[in-house]
Symmetry: C2
């Protein structure tokens, strides 16, 4: 019966890794839509978010089914519960990618991000990519060190987010209010994407060590 349990749990884990792959693709494509003013890609990302939501529901259903059939206790139980929490965070990462795509769509054919900040946003997207890859890997390998690494990759995301704000609020900002408002929200979407990756990482750490990870909150707006 334990083998059946662990087989089922492996399927849940595979689904979670699949979700990270999907949100990674979503954010990568949303960034393309944004920085290359690509409406078709924006629409595609927006539509594909339904698939991420569907996979999250599948994870939940598998988890509930596992609880009902196998009635796990102790660490096994915590793994199932943790999987549900992770699915929730990863789904939210997908939503944030969709928000980036919507911002791109809203301003099409203009770019929602002024030239001045495109490289910074591009770098935030690269950090997002690293975070998602690391998250998928940490889940697949139940890897605490990988999980801790995610928290320090996210420090770079917070730095970039601060950099965006530094430029927006500088006296030399000449792109007007609309661009400032759009860029504020877009930067926040990437930053929150990172926060959710850290939340997943914290849960891996908790699963393996019993200790609650602490998120670096000091820099969040």
């Amino acid at each position: 019966m334990r083998d059946a349990f662990h087989d089922d749990l492996d399927k849940v884990s595979d689904d979670l890794v699949e979700m990270t792959t999907m949100v990674g693709a979503a954010m990568r494509r949303a960034t393309t839509a944004l920085l290359e003013t690509d409406l078709t890609t924006a629409e595609s990302v927006i539509a594909a978010d339904d698939d991420i939501d569907a996979l999250r529901r599948e994870v939940d259903d598998r988890a509930v089914d596992l609880l009902a059939r196998q009635q796990p206790v102790a660490t096994d139980l915590r793994m199932v519960v943790t999987a549900m929490h992770m699915a929730s965070d990863i789904e939210r990462m997908g939503d944030l990618a969709r928000h980036v795509a919507k911002a791109a769509r809203r301003r099409y054919p203009d770019c929602a991000v002024p030239d001045q900040l495109r490289n910074t946003i591009r770098e935030m997207a690269e950090v997002a990519e690293q975070l998602v890859t690391a998250t998928g890997s940490a889940i697949a390998n139940k890897d605490v060190h990988g999980a801790v690494e995610i928290e320090s990759i996210d420090d770079r995301m917070d730095e970039l987010h601060r950099k965006v704000f530094g430029e927006l609020l500088d006296q030399s900002w000449e792109h007007g209010t609309e661009a400032a408002v759009d860029t504020t929200l877009i930067s926040r979407y990437y930053e929150r994407f990172g926060d959710h990756a850290v939340a997943v990482a914290d849960r891996i750490v908790y699963l393996v060590t019993g200790r609650y990870g602490t998120q670096d909150e000091g820099l969040q707006r």
Copy 2:
């Protein structure tokens, strides 16, 4: 054994209602801190978020304990799982109140929201209050009609959020970039607060009817 299960589940439900009371107080006080430039209240809200997080962990621990000891199936199992999801949404509402308080603190002794938009933000806070009261009540009474009502109260929040953006992006905006950036984020915090209340409501509807609620996404940025 079923009586013990339902007693335990009632405690979880009571904790969830307590959480809604706490996040309601947090958002009410954060709004005071914001609109009345009250630094002490801002600091107090920021600190008190730890209590909300602690109660969320207690809900999770109770739920896991319930699953381990009572090994519920079917609807009983779904109730426990749903409670964990709700705790997650309600905790996030507390975080959003903390973000409002941090915005107030960041700009002290100035007000982060220009005169022009203070009434609109005040009304968003009133809608937030209604949402939280309705959410606590819907949880306590397992009330589908109350839950559906929450979705329509949130329509008003979305309207107000659009109104804020309409003013920010109007040619007549004369308060500069910093105020626009701050107000963008603050308005989003209230709007996301509403979204999470709707997420809780959707779960109540799902619990009682088996149908997934649909969030009105069309107006989200």
